[in-house]
Symmetry: C2
Subunit: 327 residues, 2 copies
Amino acid sequence: MAMDNKGWNASQLRNCDLQFDEIPRLHHNDPKVDELMSENKPVVVLGSNLAKSAEKWDLDYLERHMGESDFTVFQSKSHKFKYYDDKKVTSGDGFVPPTKKLDMKLPEFIKRLRAWKKGEDRLYLQQGLNNTVGPAIVHDFLNFDWNFCTGKQSKHNWGSLTSNLMLIGMEGNVTPCHYDEQENLFAQVHGFKRCILFPPDQFECLYPHPVHHPHDRQSMVDFDRPDYNKFPKFRQAKGFETVVGPGEVLYIPMYWWHHVESLMQGSYTVSVNFWYKGGPVSVSYPLKGHQKVAVMRNVEKMLLDVLQDPKEIPVLLRAMVLGRYTE
Amino acid sequence: MAMDNKGWNASQLRNCDLQFDEIPRLHHNDPKVDELMSENKPVVVLGSNLAKSAEKWDLDYLERHMGESDFTVFQSKSHKFKYYDDKKVTSGDGFVPPTKKLDMKLPEFIKRLRAWKKGEDRLYLQQGLNNTVGPAIVHDFLNFDWNFCTGKQSKHNWGSLTSNLMLIGMEGNVTPCHYDEQENLFAQVHGFKRCILFPPDQFECLYPHPVHHPHDRQSMVDFDRPDYNKFPKFRQAKGFETVVGPGEVLYIPMYWWHHVESLMQGSYTVSVNFWYKGGPVSVSYPLKGHQKVAVMRNVEKMLLDVLQDPKEIPVLLRAMVLGRYTE
Ligand SMILES: [Zn+2]
Ligand SMILES: [Zn+2]
């Protein structure tokens, strides 16, 4: 397979109808890094040591050190691993979970990952870094460059660190487009991931599921085969992309949409998320895109509270909007 | 002019594309009156003495007794008197008031009413009954059958009486379709008025202006020439109608839509509104139509509070609804 000196080539990227601008890729000393972060704009930070102690986290090392605990593994019949919230599944709503959540020991996961052939169910390990991961991994975790992320946290007024998630994915796995309600430093450890990001003000181009739906915060648009009749504004979505490799850290600002794919015909991927609560909210007008998203979420939550029945929400919203607030 | 024994005939009604059921017309002793009122359904009450003391309020009597105070009179170039809220007019929003609010003494008003010819500006007196109306009118007011309305108030758990409005209209004047946030006993005193009512759950067929618009609570649909492209569901609006004459009282439940027209080629009309606050709200599910209207009003008010700019509301609502909550 032809590779250029980046370690990957364009044929490994999935097809997408949209075209993207590049997310800036800057050296960790570059003052523009903090400029972008303070504007809540994504940036790839190069040359930091944030997850340097995890450089050695290949499958052999992990198998040797992560022990016999059960870890959370998702299984999917397709390449897509669309997250869903168990707590929002209600009996009789007809929701079919697109993935299966399994408890699996690491040796079993790695065996299946190595033996995997095209057409078989795919796996994606997504495990919080806690004391079940074994002393060697905890040691590496403690040796992350905490100065780096704590510095960003205080400089940009983020809230507390809430969790670190370790992700081990098969080549070609896709986390479909969604947004999170936290700030994220996304450290790539092994293999390459393509990340496509959209600002919060692209809400109307990305059509998130209703807030009370198990796929809350996920786009309803299938990036592989967008239904332009249902989602006409998706054509106008303006996104940014990058491919992150080992040692690189992508800042995914809170409420920014992100689609993440492990490159096809590449290796498995290992990544670690650093999730921080958002900072205190200062309100100035006009509201920023992410603040409007928060407003919309609150309206939808309030409507569920007051109507009690999710089926009544679309009826009420259509009555409120169609012909009155449409052009 | 041919009249049947009701005192009016169908040719005096304005054309409307819709067909209506009849609002029940019941004797004040009929127990069904209170059944309907307790279900928040409209009813015409016959034979009560609510405004019997106002039977003699013709133009001559009013001119003799209402004195030289200034009263509120609206002037309109068309037959429509669409209410607007001064406090919601903001500079630069391009709003053109459809009527002019004047202070006018009663003799001047009556002179112009009597001299009026087709094609000239129309007038509509709408004056709260207070101590400016002169001792004779106050005397008649005190002789209203307060037992009747206070009985309804306590039986149906209404809040306090907030005001009595006296209306003196020219033949053919129209108060376009709107709803009020109060219970209304509408006592007809002189002449005939056609009242078309729609239940609160017809909200989506009647397309009210945004809550922050000066025409808040008014339908955007022009009943004379409905724009079915903009307001397609108006065709499906299911309304009820009646014509009220002297001595008859129409109960207009809170949040019910109403269009009121003084019959064409009839006489001037005199009416008195008794407005009561709504009762304490008991919530049971599913919510009733009028409770959903209140929810929608609160969402729109909250959005204006938080966005500060009315122009941003449609943008946000469209992003929230189109493609996500539409079919
Ligand atoms: Zn995410
Ligand atoms: Zn009214």
